[in-house]
């Protein structure tokens, strides 16, 4: 399918996501202006605040978005009974975007007002203007061009950063971009990036016109019109955002106590597993399920701790090393026992039954090479390694349980220093012979599709990564039927089945919902006749 075909086929969704995106940008920029312009004015009156406030705004801009989200999600800031900051969804994305947009607005307001010719200010004082009159009649009109320039920068930055909203289930064009990157689907990436770029260019153009109009000496008669257009655009954004928030909002702590919020991380397997858990709960308990998928980084864990979601599937090894910071362990039962105890004590969370498969690092070589050389284990490959090149993802190269321990564990030597590349690219590089050995994920659908062979971890270097639904104990106590359902999923999924499902989504572009539904029917978890929707 060509990119244009994709756009035409999915025009409603593309338009919807674009409007969501516009809503996020419009609301956050509007709030940033409402806060930033008065703050900028205050800084010109209260000089002692100038450096601390501008410094703080500067620091806020450098905070990575995922770090900012993990700080914002646990907050509960309410206004008129509605939660305005905290949790998953649009309100927290808007809060983050506001923080990012504040600096250019505050700085340009302050600089614009400070830049007013001192002779003009003195003339104004000398003729008997009060401080307010000077601000209203002289300083703001003269600084307006610079202030609008700041709003323009803030808006264009926001169009770009609003893509991260997808990481906390707040929608926008980031959905397409991240899904496309994950699935190695250029059309999807473009379907997110092209409208985003068009929005950025349009905002830049329109606000550039406004900037010239509001500069001293601009055509004053048309200012009212432009101001009205901008206000109307912001209002439209607010309406759209309100609908987005209304439609997607209401997590575990929401109005209906009987709703179960199922989360997932932001890669294909996680979304399929999220669907499996969600559909199983829907079919077997009759409870209403809210899906909060696609949570980036460790946000799923933070959302679970904060009560924003009730359950998601985690991997024992990841929880043990990345979240709990434990030392390397290789016995699957031991790791599960330890994470189960630690989570119960520290987070009041319960590790239910393992789903049955282990998504560990998979050391992969080309099938043709494995067959020719008769390779089955990593130890078998060690003697050939000095003639090979290796390529690894950033994750594998940086993790405590990754490259640094792996090489001495098998006494490996490669022809050259391993290449560092994006994980999805290592598969292609291996298949095309650019490198000879990579570390993938054992459940990846591409392994079978590209005729790659996973070498057995015969020295048991890698910790186990058993997939297990983790749930809030409070929710399980209230709904024992959910615990029963999760128990029914225990031991259900084999590595091959998981690979096949991943391939169905990544390789054949089936929807995760459909793949999960077919699987649950086949396994008899949901009755073939019942309709889970």
């Amino acid at each position: 399918m060509s990119f244009l075909d994709f756009l035409v086929t999915n025009r409603r969704e593309v338009l919807g996501l674009t409007l969501e995106h516009l809503g996020l940008v419009g609301v956050s920029t509007g709030i940033a202006v409402a806060i930033g312009v008065p703050a900028g004015i205050l800084l010109t009156r209260w000089r002692a605040l100038r450096d601390p406030i501008l410094g703080l705004a500067n620091i806020l801009q450098t905070v990575p978005s995922l770090a900012l989200f993990s700080f914002l999600i646990p907050l509960h800031v309410s206004l008129f009974g509605a939660r305005v900051v905290g949790g998953l969804g649009a309100q927290t994305a808007v809060a983050a975007l506001v923080l990012y947009a504040l600096l250019p607005v505050i700085r340009n307001t302050t600089v614009g007002i400070e830049g007013v010719d001192p002779a003009i200010r003195e003339a104004a004082r000398g003729m008997g203007m009060t401080g307010r009159e000077i601000l209203r009649l002289v300083e703001i009109p003269l600084a307006l061009g610079v202030i609008v320039a700041g709003i323009r920068v803030a808006t264009v930055i926001s169009v770009g950063t609003a893509t991260i909203a997808a990481a906390i289930d707040a929608g926008g064009l980031g959905r397409y971009i991240f899904r496309g990157l994950r699935m190695n689907d250029t059309n999807l990436v473009l379907a997110g990036a092209v409208p985003a770029a068009a929005l950025a260019l349009a905002a830049d153009f329109l606000l550039g016109r406004a900037e010239r109009l509001f500069a001293p000496g601009g055509a004053r008669r048309r200012r009212g019109l432009v101001a009205a257009v901008i206000v109307a655009a912001l209002a439209l954004g607010a309406v759209v955002a309100a609908q987005v928030a209304g439609g997607g909002g209401g997590g575990a702590g929401g109005r209906a106590a009987a709703r179960i919020a199922v989360g997932s991380k932001d890669f294909t397997e996680q979304i399929i597993l999220g669907e499996i858990v969600a559909q199983a709960i829907e079919a077997r308990t009759g409870l209403e399920v809210v899906r909060r998928f696609d949570l980036g980084g460790s946000l799923a864990h933070q959302a679970l701790v904060a009560g924003e979601i009730d359950v998601y599937v985690e991997y024992t090894g990841t929880a043990w090393t990345a979240i709990l910071g434990g030392e390397r362990l290789t016995d699957p039962a031991e790791v599960l026992r330890r994470v189960r105890a630690a989570y119960a004590e520290r987070f009041d969370l319960e590790w239910t039954e393992p789903l049955g498969f282990d998504n560990t690092f998979a050391i992969l070589v080309r099938g043709e090479v494995a067959r020719r050389l008769g390779l089955r284990t990593i130890s078998d490959a060690a003697s050939h390694a000095p003639g090979w090149r290796a390529g690894f993802g950033q994750d594998f190269l940086s993790r405590a349980d990754g490259y640094d321990g792996f090489v001495p564990a098998y006494d490996l030597r490669f022809a050259e220093r391993p290449r560092e590349m994006d994980l999805s690219l290592t598969y292609r590089a291996l298949a095309e012979g650019v490198v000879d050995l990579i570390a993938g994920n054992s459940t990846d659908g591409l392994i079978a599709r590209l005729d790659l062979v996973q070498l057995a971890d015969d020295r048991r270097y890698f910790p186990p990564y058993d997939a297990v639904p983790v749930a809030r104990r409070q929710m399980l106590a209230r709904h024992p039927e959910v615990r029963e359902t999760l128990r029914a999923l225990g031991g259900l999924i084999t590595v091959d089945e998981m690979r096949a499902m991943n391939l169905a989504v990544d390789g054949e572009h089936s929807s995760p919902r459909e793949v999960a539904m077919q699987y649950l029917k086949r396994k008899g978890i949901t009755a073939a006749t019942s309709d889970p929707f």
Partner: protein
């Protein structure tokens, strides 16, 4: 201390001004400006002329002594009310670039809450007065005007609410010699017509002698001479002599006598 005369509109009583860092800009200054006269403050750069001027409309307050305007100490005035009674013209003019010429002239009446028609009529009247035909100039922007034209607008703006007092800080300082000389002639005519009390700052002795009913010569923040132009030319004061000699020319005698 000098005795206040009944017609003293502006009076400095032993006024000193020090910066927060201790530097003295004015030291024990006493002088009066009488109703309807143009008192020129003459002096070199840094002699305290502008500082003196800014104490009249309370842009600065004395650190010792007091300044009285219309019989009342400036510190007892509401600064906004005081400034609205005093027209103020500075060398850089300070026209508001985002307002038209007519709007610039009408700004103080607007602050005073006049009706629109009255403001517009007043602006036209004043533009006429300073030699800028309102039909051609009222709607234009300040940046479209020459330096001399802008300065005329500055004067018109200062006169807009008909203040009894006018402060002028080197209003013609940035103009070329020919324009400057024309403006001085017109200003002289204006002085007689308006009958305002004016304090006029300059470092140009020719200008001081042409425009001033009296000249106050400042040196290092002290009053070195105070008297009529005629007396100034005959003064023994070293600073006064230095000024007279620095620009001695036939034109001086012609204009100052």
């Amino acid at each position: 201390m000098t005795q206040a005369r009944p017609d003293a509109v502006i009076e400095f009583r032993n006024v000193s001004f020090r910066l927060p860092n201790g530097k003295s800009l004015l030291d024990g200054l006493s002088l009066q400006a009488r109703r309807g006269e143009t008192l020129v403050l003459l002096g070199r750069s840094g002699s305290g002329k502008t500082t003196t001027l800014k104490m009249v409309n309370r842009l600065l307050n004395p650190t010792a002594g007091e300044v009285r305007v219309e019989g009342k100490a400036t510190v007892a005035w509401d600064p906004i009310r005081l400034r609205r009674r005093i027209g103020y013209v500075i060398q850089e003019v300070g026209l508001f670039p985002h307002l038209s010429i007519a709007e610039n002239v009408g700004i103080v009446p607007r602050l005073e809450g006049w009706e629109r028609e009255r403001i517009a009529a007043r602006a036209r009247e004043l533009l006429d007065l300073v030699g800028l035909p309102p039909d051609r100039f009222a709607a234009r922007a300040p940046r479209e005007l020459s330096g001399g034209q802008r300065q005329r607008v500055g004067v018109a703006r200062a006169l807009a609410a008909d203040p009894p007092i006018l402060l002028l800080d080197e209003p013609f300082g940035a103009l070329d010699p020919i324009t400057r000389s024309e403006m001085q002639k017109e200003f002289r005519a204006l002085e007689e017509r308006l009958g305002k009390t004016m304090l006029f700052v300059t470092h140009d002795v020719r200008e001081a002698l042409i425009l001033g009913s009296r000249v106050a010569l400042l040196r290092d923040g002290r009053l070195a001479f105070l008297g009529e132009p005629r007396e100034f030319l005959r003064s023994d004061d070293a600073e006064a002599r230095a000024f007279v000699e620095s620009s001695a020319s036939p034109a001086l005698r012609e204009g100052g006598a």
